[in-house]
């Protein structure tokens, strides 16, 4: 139903259209045109001797048929499926506990589960190396030297670590939303325990399981940082293959063919997934008033609690704690600020940190904050205005179009931005523009959902009472949407802050943000300094996480 309030249509029509046209122009100029530029340049590339499209065509056929391509496809799809399946499997018990029990530390586990999700991949990489790596804690404790990270296992492990919390959030929110009377209906009809779970609960959870699987799958499919570091020369996702061809092999046609293939695949996945999600949700019946599962305060089955907590500790806290401890451990093995001193005091390190990073560490901090603030504010403002403007409209294609950046290769966008705009705009501006596309899909979805949930009747009531557009915004919408906006803004800041892909491809490593600096330190084998920098980063983020968490814990207001 489209109850578009006439007052709003009359006053918001013209500037609303301006906004949407402006947004379309922005997407065209800074996403579509750059990507197109990459393809056009690739087609006109003269490397093979033959000119233009022929070269592109021959690159296309030779790459598509090359065994290496097949291995990129198999690897990308394979690791993404496995990672997503494992992330969901790890998340299910956690989601169950979160939805059904109140226990000490529930909030903390919830907050922790958010941590890996907002951490930059590069810090996950650092933490994983510190914990599972050759000289990592596990190998040191066991006295072994298993290679747990620089291989397929390591990539999947990092992806699961990185994403299972997202699956917990999605599934536990859905689980808390399942009317407990479904379970009771099944019980009164004679079903019990596992039967109820498999016959009733699980089918009702399928949409959330599917959607978390799909999200994790897409994130892993587009994975860059983890695979760049752990994959070596053996494993590349499309995103890494594009990066390699562009910046290491300097083979633009090959890079653009990979980019094309990637887009074809992600387009296909998004198409298939929206279809299957739609079908899975079609069965849902609106029962009107819904009773969430009783959140029992009785003690959990002890074994279950212990098992899950231990797993959480080992899996999440293990790498993170190791990272923090090692950051504070000097080369002598004594606890102290040695690493931070080397990082921050010029000349204190054997290697010249400044020359590795092409910047001082305070410079990195300021640059990161500045870029993230600029890009986050831009994203948030555009997403917020668009969502307010689109309220009440169910145009699936506008919503769909606005989610496109999620499936587009960021490496390609980054490179295209450079190719197309580098003579006009400085790299920092291009990074801000590129990072806009990193955060926009998620931020927009958060704001859009929040705005749509705001009852139209409340707004209508204010209109009937004579409030104008501006008064409604100030008196009704902004106060009611405060949490949504805070939450969205926090993500809008966090995602570019954590971005490695765009900063690397647009800035070619010369614009040192936090993640770029950490990546470069790993590259120069200054591992302990990388850890120290990662800890600094986390300290900066903690404040932001707290804001996100305060505003987004689902169901915390329900008894």
């Amino acid at each position: 139903m489209n109850h578009h309030a006439p007052v709003r249509a009359a006053s918001g029509g013209a500037d609303g259209r301006v906004l949407l046209v402006g947004l379309a122009g922005f997407f065209l100029l800074f996403m579509v045109a750059p990507v197109a530029t990459v393809f056009i340049r690739a087609a006109g590339h003269d490397a093979v001797g033959a000119g233009g499209l022929d070269a592109f065509w021959s690159a296309l056929t030779s790459i598509v048929t090359a065994p290496r391509t097949r291995s990129v496809i198999t690897f990308t799809v394979g690791q993404a499926s496995l990672s997503a399946a494992l992330a969901v499997a790890v998340a299910l018990p956690g989601a169950y506990l979160m939805a059904h029990y109140t226990f000490p530390g529930r909030r903390i586990i919830y907050s922790l589960s958010l941590l890996p999700f907002v951490l930059p991949t590069i810090i996950v990489v650092v933490a994983m190396i510190g914990f599972y790596g050759k000289n990592g804690l596990i190998n040191r404790l066991l006295g072994t030297d298993f290679n747990l990270v620089y291989n397929f296992r390591g990539i999947v492990l990092a992806h699961v670590f990185y994403n299972f919390s997202l699956a917990i959030r999605i599934i536990s929110t859905a689980w808390s939303g399942i009317d407990r009377r479904y379970r009771e209906s099944a019980e009164i009809l004679g079903d019990r325990g596992p039967g109820v779970f498999f016959r009733v609960t699980l089918p009702l959870l399928i949409p959330s399981i599917l959607s978390s699987f799909i999200l994790v799958f897409i994130y892993c499919f587009l994975s860059f940082g983890v695979v760049l570091v752990f994959g070596g020369v053996r494993f590349s996702t499309f995103e890494v293959a594009i990066y390699r061809e562009m910046f290491i092999n300097l083979d633009l046609p090959a890079a653009s063919v990979f980019a094309l293939l990637q887009m074809a695949f992600s387009g296909l996945f998004i198409l298939v997934s929206t279809g299957s999600l739609h079908r899975a949700r079609a069965g849902a019946v609106d029962t009107g008033q819904s009773l969430p599962p009783l959140r029992s305060a009785r003690p959990l089955p002890r074994a279950l609690l212990v098992l899950y907590t231990v797993t959480m500790l080992v899996f999440v806290l293990g790498p993170l704690t190791t990272m923090v401890v090692r950051a504070f451990t000097g080369s002598s093995g004594a606890l102290g600020l040695e690493n931070f001193r080397q990082l921050l005091v010029p000349g204190a390190a054997e290697r010249n940190v400044h020359s590795i990073l092409r910047s001082s560490v305070p410079g990195v901090v300021l640059r990161s904050i500045g870029l993230a603030t600029a890009s986050g504010t831009l994203t948030f403002a555009v997403a917020g205005l668009t969502a307010l403007r689109l309220r009440g409209s169910r145009s699936t294609w506008i919503d769909g179009a606005l989610q496109i950046p999620m499936g587009v290769s960021l490496v390609t966008v980054g490179l295209g931005l450079r190719l197309l705009w580098q003579d006009v705009l400085p790299p920092v501006i291009l990074i801000v523009l590129g990072q806009f596309f990193v955060a926009f899909p998620l931020v927009f979805r958060i704001v859009r959902t929040g705005v749509e949930e705001l009852s139209e009747r409340i707004v209508n009531a204010a209109e009937i009472l004579g409030a104008g557009r501006r008064r409604i915004l100030m008196d009704i919408e902004l106060p009611l949407l405060r949490r949504t906006f805070l939450n969205a803004y926090a993500y809008a800041l966090a995602l570019p802050f954590a971005d490695l892909t765009v900063a690397m491809t647009v800035g070619r490593g010369r614009v040192a943000t936090f993640p770029v600096a950490i990546y470069r330190l790993i590259g120069f084998r200054s591992f302990d300094l990388a850890l120290a920098l990662a800890v600094l980063y986390i300290a900066f983020c903690l404040v932001l996480f707290l804001v996100i968490d305060r505003t987004s814990l689902p169901g915390k207001d329900t008894p």
Partner: protein, 323 residues
């Protein structure tokens, strides 16, 4: 059939304390304002909740600590909670499949039950496409499929519109008589309770304040709360006690009436008038206080009339009334 033996259970908001029994084949309503513990009582019978004290017996068997699955009860929830991922047929046959009945038997029983609730051939329908009334019938069929000894209905008509509500109400009575099953029915509507029940348990703040047949409840309520909760109530003083008179026990006397033995005449003024179709409902201010009177003749607000009643018709209310 069902016996509550000093069942006590405390909640943050109130304490539920029930002590009553329901005979086999009866249709009993649990009636009370919202928050009085109606649904909780039903949930205790079903086993979704367990009392802190006391016992619940079904057919002489102590079921207090039995799981819902073992109680052989049918339950129809307020919003029916049909499983959205199953067809109508799969919903109705769910309990039978749990009991591992052969597929042919399940099919036959489902068909029979859908006939019974007048939805023949609905097996393959998607539950999302059903109307409110159809959903309710399917929910009843699903609850009856396992041949329960007892059927519990939690506000089953609350999301159905007025006209359909009456049909479904009659249908439940028909089914109940036909199957001879015991039915316990929760409602906050006194019309519903009075219309279909054999007996009504009136709940107030977690206590059964009266448990009686519908006429007894209406004519001889235990206290003022029950009297007012189950219908319009007039209280007049006679012989030093309070008498309850229902509106139909009062009438507006004609010109020249009066002086008859055993009838009290009161001068009154009509304050409010409601048209009820077959009759009119008047609120009058009289020397004995505000009186509700039903009268088939049309009068106007402000008219002066004479209201009459026979004190002998009144039901004396006991003193020490809690409200």
């Amino acid at each position: 059939m069902i016996e509550f033996r000093s069942v006590r259970t405390r909640y943050p908001e109130f304490e539920l304390a029930v002590d009553f029994s329901i005979a086999e084949g009866e249709l009993v309503s649990i009636l009370g304002p919202s928050g009085s513990g109606k649904t909780t009582t039903l949930r205790l019978i079903a086993g979704f909740e367990q009392p802190q004290e006391g016992q619940i017996l079904i057919n002489g068997r102590d079921v207090t600590h039995l799981s819902p699955a073992d109680r052989q009860i049918g339950y129809v929830f307020q919003d029916y909670t049909l499983f959205p991922h199953m067809s109508v047929g799969d919903n109705v046959g769910y309990g039978l499949r749990i009991r591992r009945r052969p597929a042919a038997e399940v099919r036959a029983t489902v068909a029979e039950l859908l006939d019974l609730v007048e939805l023949p051939g609905y097996q393959d329908r998607n539950v999302a496409t059903l109307s409110g009334g159809e959903r309710q019938r399917v929910a009843i069929a699903r609850a009856l499929a396992t041949r329960p000894v007892l059927l519990l209905l939690d506000e089953p008509f609350s999301s159905i519109d007025e006209v359909l509500r009456r049909d479904l109400r009659d249908e439940i009575v028909r089914l109940q008589k036909r199957l001879g099953i015991t039915v316990v029915f929760v409602t906050h509507s006194r019309q519903e309770a009075l219309a279909i029940s054999d007996r009504v348990a009136v709940l107030q703040a977690g206590q059964v304040v009266q448990y009686a047949g519908v006429e007894e409840l209406y004519r001889q309520p235990r206290d003022r709360f029950v009297a007012e909760f189950v219908g319009d109530a007039n209280f007049v003083t006679g012989d030093g006690t309070q008498l309850l008179l229902r509106p139909e026990q009062l009438w507006i006397a004609g010109e020249g009436d009066g002086g008859d033995e055993g009838i009290v005449y009161l001068d009154a003024e009509i304050e409010m008038h409601q048209y009820l179709g077959s009759t009119h409902r008047y609120a009058c201010r009289s020397t004995a206080g505000r009186l509700i009177v039903m009268d088939p003749r049309r009068r106007s607000v402000g008219d002066t009339v004479t209201v009459a009643y026979r004190p002998a018709d009144g039901f004396p209310m006991t003193e020490g009334d809690p409200s």
